[in-house]
């Protein structure tokens, strides 16, 4: 039977700090992104080099797309967070599909431990992204709307508003959970699916599923970043709507 583990396996412990295989992959993805950025913006010019035009295509495309979702007025503020979410998730998702990731490893106590594991196929990563996104949403909401933003959660004007505030708090917490589990569930399920299919029929048959997973990787990155954009938009327009209403 192929090895399937819900939790990321630990490779070792460095200075008392546990190193999991998905953490290793995260670092690799970070390295790829940083290297690409460095190469793309090393010699910036108005007449772009090939890699610069790729970067322009990606960044410019994301910028215009998300300014349509989050509104033109705040996109400058939100863009680093949203675009980083998208780029990190999509590269991490696709990195998990590379051959060798999840299959190259060693045995410890009769148990297989892969050296690399898709970064987003670990709840720690997705939960970290979700927590960062939701905290950032609150931060940007507070920053743009001001102290009035707390009225969204704690409102003592009337019982209905108070109750709505409690619901809002619950909804923010549930956002973290849904963000984290949606991404983790999709990517982990994809990897399990690929493992099982490859175990049953090693040749040709996994190909369509691989294509599907590439597509899912893109869609999940898009969903995560777009939902963040939408929530950000709601957060910064919340106080405005309240004061007008």
């Amino acid at each position: 039977m192929p090895h399937i583990s819900l939790a990321a396996e630990k490779i070792g412990i460095l200075f008392g700090f546990p190193i999991s295989n998905s953490l290793l992959t995260t670092w690799l993805v970070m390295g790829i992104l940083a290297l690409f950025s460095l190469l793309a913006t090393r010699n910036l010019s108005l007449v772009p080099s090939p890699i610069q035009s790729v970067a322009e295509l990606v960044v410019g495309g994301l910028y215009s797309f998300f300014s349509g979702v989050a509104g033109k007025s705040h996109i400058r503020l939100f863009f680093p967070l949203i675009a980083s979410l998208f780029l990190f998730i999509i590269i991490a998702n696709w990195f998990g599909l590379l051959p060798g990731v999840g299959t190259v490893g060693f045995f410890r106590h009769e148990e297989f431990v892969p050296i690399l594991r898709g970064a987003t196929a670990d709840l720690n990563t997705t939960l970290a992204l979700a927590v960062t996104a939701v905290v950032a949403i609150q931060y940007f909401g507070f920053k743009t709307v001001g102290s009035h933003y707390t009225m969204r959660f704690v409102n003592l004007k009337n019982p209905i508003s108070f109750f709505l505030g409690i619901l809002e708090i619950i909804s923010e917490v549930s956002k973290i959970v849904s963000f984290a589990f949606r991404l983790f569930g999709n990517i982990f399920a994809g990897e399990v699916l690929l493992t099982v299919i490859a175990f049953l029929v090693p040749f040709i048959v996994p190909l369509p599923f691989l294509m599907l997973e590439i597509f899912v990787g893109f869609i999940q990155a898009l969903v995560f970043s777009m939902l963040t954009a939408v929530f950000l938009n709601v957060a910064v327009s919340h106080g405005g709507g309240e004061s007008h209403g």
Partner: protein
């Protein structure tokens, strides 16, 4: 939580990792790329505006040139016409002058001719008188005495003087 693989240390590590990604990508990718995109947009807009301006200026110059050419042509025609007119005027003047001169010459010639005729007549008369005197002298010496001669001659001379005058 244990079974899902969630560990606080790893969770914290991933949060820090993602924060680093946001920071690094903002510094290395978004800012420079968006900056250059903005710069290029501005550049393109500026060059388009410049091209439009140049085009408009060119058209203006063209119109100006055409106007100038038109004016020059009109002026040239005017000058030509004036020159023709002046030429005709000069022609007329010259012809008139020539006419005058010619009539002057003719007049002068006529008076000269009249004067010469008179002179000739005078000469002819004088010659006729001397001829007559000589003839008379010869005839009279044969016929008349010296005394009669003198008388007749003087009488004749008196008469001749009357004629000459």
């Amino acid at each position: 939580m244990e079974q899902l693989g969630i560990e606080p240390t790893l969770l914290l590590a991933q949060i820090i990792n993602f924060s680093i990604i946001v920071f690094v990508l903002t510094r290395l990718l978004y800012k420079p790329i968006l900056g250059i995109l903005e710069k290029r947009k501005k550049e393109i807009e500026e060059s388009l505006a410049r091209a439009e301006k140049l085009k408009r200026e060119e058209e203006k110059f063209k119109q100006k040139g055409e106007k100038l050419l038109d004016e020059a042509r009109r002026e040239g025609r005017k000058i030509l016409e004036e020159a023709k007119k002046q030429g005709k005027l000069a022609e007329k003047e010259i012809i008139a002058e020539a006419h005058n001169e010619a009539s002057d010459i003719v007049k002068k010639g006529k008076t000269e001719v009249v004067r010469m005729e008179e002179e000739m007549e005078k000469g002819v008369r004088q010659q006729a008188v001397t001829l007559a005197i000589a003839m008379a002298k010869r005839l009279l010496t044969a016929v008349l005495s010296e005394k009669d001669q003198h008388r007749v001659i003087s009488e004749q001379l008196k008469e001749l003087e009357k004629v000459v005058e």
